[in-house]
C-alpha cells in the first residue's frame, strides 16, 4: 500500500479533521517561518557586513517583519492607469498560492527507519498518518509544476503593470526560470531514478539508513550541486537576481505593486526559499530522517528536518552576501552550456548504472560503451559550442 495510511481504511470525519489540522498547521508554520526567514536574512547579511541589522522591533528585532507586514496593510493600494485590472490583481495570488502549495509535499517529521513499510508515520488521535500535508502519487513533480506556474505569476505581473521596467524584469524572470528548470528537473530525475519512486515520502524512506544512504552520496554530489545552483536561479536570488536588478530595472516585475499585493510577492519569494531548502533536504539530505536519542520519538525527526533546512537558509543568505550579480549572457551560458549538459550527462550515467545493475550486464562492455558515448557526445557538444562562439564573434565583428 502506498500513500498516506490515513486513507487506507476509507475516509471518515476524523480523517478530514486531521487533514484540516495538518493544512492549518502547515500554513501557519510556513507563514511564521517566512517571517523568521526575512528577519534571519536581514540579520545575517548585516552580520556579514559588520552592521547590526533590525534590532528595535521586539527582542533582537524579531518582530520587524511583523511590523513591516502590518505597515503594508495600511499602505495605499495603487494601480497604474495602463495596468490590466484583472490580471494585475490576479498575479500576486498566483505567486503566493504556488509558493504555499509546493510545501505541501515536504515530509516535515515522522520516524523513518531503514525498514520499508510502516515508516515515517505519527499517531494523531489514534490514526497513523504522514507528517506532510499531502503525499500525491506524482510527488516531486508537483514541485516542478508549481515552480512553472509561479513563472506565470511573475510574467503576468510584469506584463499587466503596463510599464516598461516590470515588463523587462518579467521577461528576464521567465527566460531565466524556464532555462534553469531543465537543469533543476534533470537533477530531480537522477534522484527519482535511484529511489524508483516519485513520492517524497518514499524518497525520504530510502535515505533513512544513515548518511551513506543519502542521495547526496549515492547520486554522486553532482545532481545536488546542479540542483543548488538551479534552485538559486529559480528563486531569483543573488547571484541570479537579474529580475530585480535595482540598478537597471528599479524593482523588476513588482515595481508597480504596492501595499498588500507587494507583500504577497515578497511573502512568496521568501516562502519559496524555505520550500526549496526543504525540497533539497528531502531529496538529498534524508529529510527528517536521523538518529533518535531519548524521550519523544516523534520530536527528533522534526528537529533534524528543521536544522537541515536552517543550514540551507544560511547558505542562501551566504550566497547573497558574497557573490556579485551575474551578467545576463553569463547567466544563460551557465544554464545552457554548463548546467544542462552536466546534469544530462550525469543523469545518463546514473541510468546506465541502474540498468547495468538490474539487467546484470557485463562491467567492461557497459562502461566502455559509456566512455565511447561520452567521448562522442562531448566532442559534439564542444564543437557545437565552438561553432556558436565563432558565429557570435563574427556577428559582433560585423556589427
Amino acid at each position: 500500500m502506498t500513500g498516506d495510511p490515513l486513507f487506507h481504511d476509507g475516509v471518515d470525519l476524523v480523517d478530514i479533521g486531521i487533514m484540516g489540522l495538518k493544512v492549518v498547521v502547515a500554513f501557519g508554520f510556513l507563514l511564521v517561518a517566512t517571517m523568521f526567514m526575512v528577519w534571519f536574512e536581514r540579520k545575517l547579511i548585516s552580520d556579514m557586513q559588520n552592521r547590526i541589522g533590525p534590532n528595535v522591533a521586539g527582542p533582537w528585532g524579531l518582530l520587524q517583519t511583523f511590523a513591516d507586514g502590518v505597515k503594508f496593510f495600511f499602505k495605499e493600494d495603487l494601480r497604474p492607469e495602463n495596468a490590466d485590472p484583472l490580471v494585475f490583481r490576479l498575479a500576486p495570488y498566483i505567486s503566493a498560492v504556488t509558493a504555499f502549495l509546493s510545501f505541501a509535499i515536504v515530509p516535515v517529521g515522522g520516524v523513518f527507519k531503514d525498514v520499508p513499510g510502516t515508516t515515517g508515520t505519527v499517531n494523531i488521535f489514534g490514526r497513523e498518518t504522514f507528517l506532510q500535508v499531502a503525499d500525491p502519487p506524482i510527488g516531486i513533480l508537483l514541485l516542478l509544476a508549481m515552480s512553472s506556474i509561479a513563472v506565470y505569476g511573475i510574467m503576468l505581473a510584469g506584463w499587466s503593470s503596463g510599464s516598461k521596467y516590470p515588463l523587462i524584469g518579467s521577461v528576464r524572470a521567465s527566460a531565466q526560470a524556464i532555462s534553469y528548470e531543465a537543469a533543476l528537473g534533470m537533477s530531480v530525475v537522477a534522484v527519482v531514478i535511484l529511489a524508483g519512486t516519485l513520492s517524497t515520502h518514499d524518497i525520504v524512506a530510502h535515505q533513512a539508513g544513515g548518511i551513506n544512504t543519502w542521495f547526496l552520496v549515492t547520486s554522486g554530489v553532482i545532481p545536488f550541486i546542479v540542483f543548488l545552483i538551479a534552485a538559486t536561479a529559480e528563486l531569483n536570488r543573488p547571484p541570479f537576481d537579474l529580475v530585480e536588478a535595482e540598478q537597471e530595472l528599479v524593482g523588476g516585475f513588482h515595481t508597480e505593486y504596492s501595499s498588500i499585493r507587494f507583500a504577497l510577492f515578497f511573502l512568496a519569494e521568501f516562502m519559496n526559499v524555505i520550500t526549496m531548502s526543504a525540497i533539497m533536504v528531502t531529496l538529498f539530505f534524508g529529510g527528517p530522517a536521523g538518529p533518535i536519542f531519548f524521550g519523544l520519538t516523534w520530536f527528533w525527526p522534526t528537529i533534524w528536518f528543521m536544522s537541515k533546512v536552517m543550514v540551507f537558509l544560511f547558505i542562501f543568505v551566504w550566497f547573497r552576501a558574497t557573490l556579485p550579480r551575474l551578467r545576463y549572457d553569463q547567466l544563460m551560458d551557465l544554464g545552457w552550456k554548463v548546467l544542462i549538459p552536466l546534469s544530462l550527462f550525469w543523469l545518463m550515467f546514473i541510468s546506465l548504472k541502474e540498468l547495468r545493475a538490474s539487467n546484470d550486464w557485463n562491467w567492461i562492455a557497459t562502461y566502455a560503451a559509456a566512455a565511447g558515448g561520452l567521448l562522442l557526445g562531448g566532442t559534439l557538444l564542444i564543437t557545437a559550442l565552438r561553432a556558436g562562439d565563432r558565429a557570435y564573434q563574427k556577428d559582433s565583428e560585423d556589427a
Binding site: 552580520d47 556579514m48 559588520n50 552592521r51 547590526i52 551566504w318 552576501a321 558574497t322 557573490l323
Partner: protein, 210 residues
C-alpha cells in the same frame, strides 16, 4: 580556493566587531568645525556684524537665504558701517549646510554652530528670522524650543573657528586674523598648529586605515 575565497571573507565577518553607531541612542562627538545651524554674530559693543551686503544670499546654492540691507538709522545704528541687515532669513527646509555663506561673508557675521538636531512641525518655524539667528547678549546662540542642544554646541561658533582652521597657512600661526565678538572679545589664536617637519604628515590625504 579561487572562486570560493569570498565565502571565507563573508563568513569571517560574522565574528568581527560591528561598526554601526546606533544614532539616537548613542551620539558621536562632533568635529570642532561641524556645519550646523547658523548664528549671526555681534561685535563686543553689541553691534551686529552683518552689513546687509547679500553676498551670502548670492552664493547660496540652495537659495535658502533672503537678505535685505538698509541704511543704519543715525540716532541708533545697528551695525558699525553705513548699512545693516534689515531682513535676514534662512529657510532650513532648503539649507544644505555647505558653509559657502560663511566663506562669502566679508565681516564674519554669519557662522555655523554645531547644532543639527532640530525639527519643526510647521513651516514658519523652519524659516529662521534675524530675531532667532542673532546671538544673545552673552554672545551665545539663541535656543529655540524645537532644538536639541548638547554641551559645547553653542561655544566656538564664531568666525574664529574658521580663521584658525588647521588647513590654513602655517605662516599665519599665532596671528590674529579675526574681529572681536560679544562676550569673548578678541579670541586668542588656537595653539599647536605649527607645521612640524619631524612629525610624519599624512599629506596624500588618504585614510590612515587600510
Amino acid at each position: 580556493m579561487g572562486y570560493l575565497d569570498g565565502f571565507k571573507i563573508t563568513f569571517g565577518k560574522l565574528f568581527e566587531e560591528r561598526v554601526t553607531t546606533e544614532y539616537p541612542k548613542e551620539k558621536r562627538e562632533k568635529p570642532d568645525r561641524f556645519h550646523g545651524r547658523h548664528v549671526l554674530n555681534r561685535y563686543e559693543d553689541g553691534m551686529e556684524k552683518c552689513i546687509g551686503c547679500e553676498l551670502c544670499a548670492g552664493v547660496c546654492p540652495a537659495k535658502c537665504i533672503y537678505v535685505r540691507g538698509a541704511d543704519n538709522p543715525e540716532e541708533a545704528p545697528v551695525s558699525p558701517g553705513e548699512r545693516y541687515g534689515f531682513v535676514y532669513e534662512i529657510n532650513y527646509l532648503r539649507c544644505i549646510h555647505c558653509d559657502l555663506c560663511v566663506e562669502a561673508c566679508p565681516t564674519e557675521a554669519i557662522t555655523e554652530s554645531k547644532l543639527f538636531e532640530f525639527s519643526f512641525d510647521n513651516r514658519s518655524d523652519a524659516i529662521y528670522t534675524k530675531d532667532e539667528l542673532v546671538v544673545d547678549d552673552q554672545g551665545l546662540p539663541q535656543k529655540q524650543p524645537w532644538e536639541l542642544w548638547h554641551v559645547g554646541d553653542d561655544l566656538k561658533t564664531s568666525g574664529w573657528m574658521r580663521a584658525t582652521a588647521s588647513s590654513g597657512n602655517p605662516a599665519y600661526e599665532n596671528r590674529v586674523g579675526w574681529s572681536g565678538e560679544l562676550g569673548y572679545g578678541v579670541r586668542e589664536p588656537e595653539r599647536g598648529q605649527q607645521f612640524d617637519e619631524s612629525e610624519p604628515q599624512n599629506l596624500d590625504g588618504k585614510d590612515d586605515q587600510d
